[in-house]
């Protein structure tokens, strides 16, 4: 019995209800609730680091009949990322939304989004995952249309419809699993699932649904409009966290539940799509004329990188080498999460100051907003994968996995992708550091500039130096059939 596990879900949910009841205090409740959720996640992480994976059978019913929450290395890492990013974004949002009439609704939905993310990372039951996915999708959609513009509403509506289609595909996969194995508990399924038509079809359907939500090429088309038209704090969490949630589920399914079902060919297909996403997304980011649109296309590319790992993971034998590669994948996902949220927050600061985010007219940013320009540079370092960022180490490990498995086709993809990332980053920095009057001058460092730079520092320095912690945490697994 370990009631600690419910707190990362219960704290934000309770705060959301309080924020709904006391709209005038919603900002305080929102920031405080996010901070307390952070505390809850830290407590859970400490316990996982000290004593390994933990499980909580809700309602006292054995998992299977009841629902179990589970925390292991992978989920703790995702939890930590989501809670740290959301803490920083919450501080930023307390300034961003301070004068908006949507303030109270923003905070309620914000806390519901955190609830959904935490519930998703902790859930150990397939149907419960469907419910958390829907909660995540709906709250993200509402947050995305808080800006109120026509484009943001249209993008949010497309996002909603596609997300629903994805959830339906996931749900029918769950139905087939229940038909074939008679349980929804993931730990039991990790043992029970064996290669066969049921498992194969269920995995394809569930993965297909999740691919829509994680915006892998060619199912990415909804992402750039939705992410670039949302309010800045919302774009930050959408790009950094919500997309990662679907990716986390794909990893869970492929590596823990269906690890005997996954074939090299299937993994190769996803890897190829990932490769195309890297090239196409980076190219589109280079062409983008608006800062937030560029960031959104860069997310498409970065998601592609993460899928490059799948064929490598499928080719590597279970054991240390695979854990190292998996650790690199997680490290890349974390770095991108921190860097991209920093990027969107910086873009938000510029947009509020300048009234636009057209890249070509950003001259003077470095003089007017030195901290924000520095943030863009730091985040750019992490997006390209230069040392000492976490993504440098991750890409290094990606390359070494390529050498071990002999899948040379990924080499040019990684090389060109990195070059393109460098190109779009330096193009942006070139404009931002050029002299000009595009952005009005300011003398003080605003409270809203601090969170972004902290996030960027985490991405470039903290994750780079503390990367070994990621590799230590990843092998702790709650699922027998998996990488444990």
């Amino acid at each position: 019995m370990n009631n600690l596990l419910i707190w990362p879900v219960a704290v934000p949910l309770l705060s959301a209800l309080l924020a709904l009841l006391w709209p005038r205090r919603s900002t305080w409740i929102g920031v405080l609730g996010t901070a307390l959720s952070l505390l809850a996640v830290v407590l859970v992480s400490r316990q996982v680091i000290e004593s390994g994976a933990i499980e909580l059978a809700l309602g006292g019913w054995s998992p299977g009949l009841g629902i179990a929450l589970r925390a292991d290395g992978l989920s703790v890492l995702m939890l930590l990322m989501s809670t740290l990013v959301s803490m920083a974004v919450a501080v930023y949002a307390s300034v961003y939304f301070s004068r908006s009439e949507r303030r109270s609704e923003f905070w309620v939905l914000w806390l519901l989004l955190i609830t959904a993310l935490h519930a998703l990372f902790l859930s150990g039951d397939l149907f419960n995952l469907y419910v958390t996915l829907e909660l995540l999708g709906l709250s993200a959609v509402v947050l995305a249309c808080l800006g109120g513009s026509r484009e943001s509403l249209q993008a949010a509506l497309n996002y909603l419809v596609l997300g629903l289609l994805g959830s339906m595909a996931f749900l029918i996969g769950v139905a087939l699993i229940y038909a074939g194995y008679g349980t929804l508990d993931m730990a039991a399924l990790a043992v029970a699932i064996e290669s066969g038509p049921t498992a194969w079809l269920a995995l394809s359907l569930m993965t297909g649904g999740l691919l829509i939500k994680s915006a892998l090429f060619p199912l990415h088309f909804w992402l750039p409009p939705a992410h670039s038209n949302a309010p800045a704090p919302v774009s930050a969490v959408l790009s950094a966290l919500v997309v990662k949630a679907a990716l986390y589920l794909i990893l869970r399914l492929w590596l823990a539940l269906f690890d005997e079902v996954v074939t090299q060919t299937a993994a190769l297909i996803l890897g190829l799509l990932g490769g195309i996403a890297v090239l196409w997304g980076s190219w589109a980011a280079l062409q983008a004329e608006r800062l937030k649109l560029m960031a959104a296309y860069s997310t498409v590319a970065q998601v592609g990188y993460l899928f490059l790992f799948l064929p490598l993971l499928a080719a590597l034998p279970e054991g240390t080498t695979r854990d190292v590669a998996l650790g690199a994948l997680v490290l890349l996902a974390l770095t991108h999460g921190f860097a991209k949220s920093a990027f969107f927050l910086a873009a938000g600061v510029i947009m509020q100051r300048a009234g636009h985010d057209r890249i070509a007219e950003l001259g003077g940013t470095a003089r007017a907003l030195p901290v924000t320009a520095f943030t863009l540079a730091l985040a750019g370092v992490a997006l390209i994968g230069l040392p000492p960022s976490g993504s440098f180490l991750a890409k290094w490990q990606l390359l070494s996995s390529v050498f071990i498995t002999g899948q040379w086709i990924w080499l040019p993809v990684i090389a060109i992708g990195t070059l393109l990332a460098g190109a779009y980053t330096f193009r942006l920095l070139g404009y931002a550091f050029a002299p000009g009057e595009g952005v009005g001058p300011s003398l003080s460092v605003g409270r809203e500039e601090i969170p972004a730079v902290l996030l960027a520092l985490v991405a470039t320095l903290v994750l780079g130096f503390w990367a070994s912690a990621v590799w230590e945490l990843v092998p702790i697994s709650a699922y027998a059939g998996g990488e444990g």
Binding site: A10, W61, L135, L138, L146
Partner: protein, 319 residues
């Protein structure tokens, strides 16, 4: 060919036919009406498959409230999307091929798992543990005890969606006051619906029924009121409305947390109390679901929703 299968085959065929007709109709109004008929037929299928709880819920939610929402969307002017681009013939063929292949694959797997080599699922376990769950309707036991966490999160989903409805749109314009005949019906129907909701809620512990069916019935009362010209649709204003929306999730969550403080696990009801605790949670959930559904139908920010500050109101007037 076994003759006793004939009704089942007929029902299945009608389901597919109605779905096809609803989805391929170019006239939206026709599509929506066919969809409502589809929902009603589905309710009959649930009854046939010994799922009376679902039959009630489908008739109330799936056909009734969804239908009301879709119809009112048509009234908003939903029929006007005429910039539809037809997909190219090649795409059409590819999609049809994909659909055909997937249908066959899913059908094959279902044949394997249901017919060829059926497996033992949770039926026995769920029915065996019924004595310890505090209720005797197995579906209620699953919803509010074994898998209560799912239901808690589901109430949160409803909350998120209704907040979205409130954030996005303004209230729809109301209806003219009902004439004498309709008014007479409302006069009888609304109290009857409220009594029925109470009955469904109470009976849910041991027979088909429960919070969702009761909530949907209560919401139907609200919708009837609104159609008769009562614009508030029976919902309270301001702060009380917020409390009403929060009630279901809040009571559920607080009970769960209280249990984890008093030595058990989260949502682990003490066995002697579980029946009463479940009933209290269900009452709160019914209120929240009904309020959320009526609000979703009525739409938007109303006079009743306390705005953050009066600036918002000024802005809309001035712009």
């Amino acid at each position: 060919m076994n003759l006793t299968l004939l009704p089942d085959l007929l029902l299945a065929g009608m389901l597919i036919g109605l779905a096809w007709a609803a989805l391929s109709s170019d006239d939206l109004r026709r599509g929506v009406v066919l969809f409502i008929a589809f929902g009603l037929l589905l309710a009959i299928v649930w009854a046939r498959l010994l799922a009376p709880d679902l039959a009630l819920a489908e008739a109330a939610i799936g056909a009734g409230l969804s239908g009301a929402l879709l119809l009112v969307a048509l009234r908003d002017g939903g029929g006007a999307d005429q910039h539809a681009t037809k997909p190219s013939t090649l795409n059409r063929w590819l999609i049809d091929l994909f659909v055909l292949v997937m249908t066959c694959l899913i059908g094959w797997v279902l044949w394997l798992t249901i017919y060829a080599e059926p497996v033992e699922r949770l039926a026995q376990l769920a029915n065996a543990m019924l004595d310890r769950s505090g209720v005797s309707n197995p579906v209620t036991a699953v919803l509010l005890n074994y898998r209560a966490y799912d239901t808690l999160l589901e109430l949160v989903v409803v909350l998120a969606a209704v907040l979205g409805v409130v954030v996005v749109g303004r209230e729809r314009r109301g209806y003219r006051e009902a004439g004498p005949v309709f008014h007479g019906l409302v006069h009888w129907l609304v109290p009857l619906l409220i009594v029925t909701a109470g009955y469904l809620l109470w009976v849910g512990a041991h027979a088909p029924g429960g919070a969702f069916q009761a909530g949907a019935t209560l919401a139907a009362a609200g919708i009837v009121l609104r159609l008769a010209g009562y614009d508030a649709a029976g919902l309270p204003d301001g702060r009380l409305l917020r409390w009403l929306l929060v009630a279901g999730t809040g009571v559920f969550l607080l009970f769960g947390l209280a249990m984890s403080f008093s030595g058990g696990g989260f949502l682990q009801y003490p066995e002697a109390w579980s029946g009463s605790l479940i009933l209290i949670i269900e009452v709160a959930a019914t209120a929240s679901i009904a309020a959320a559904l009526v609000l979703a139908y009525r739409g938007g920010r109303t006079d009743g929703w306390p705005l953050m500050d009066e600036k918002a109101e000024n802005r809309e007037v001035s712009s």
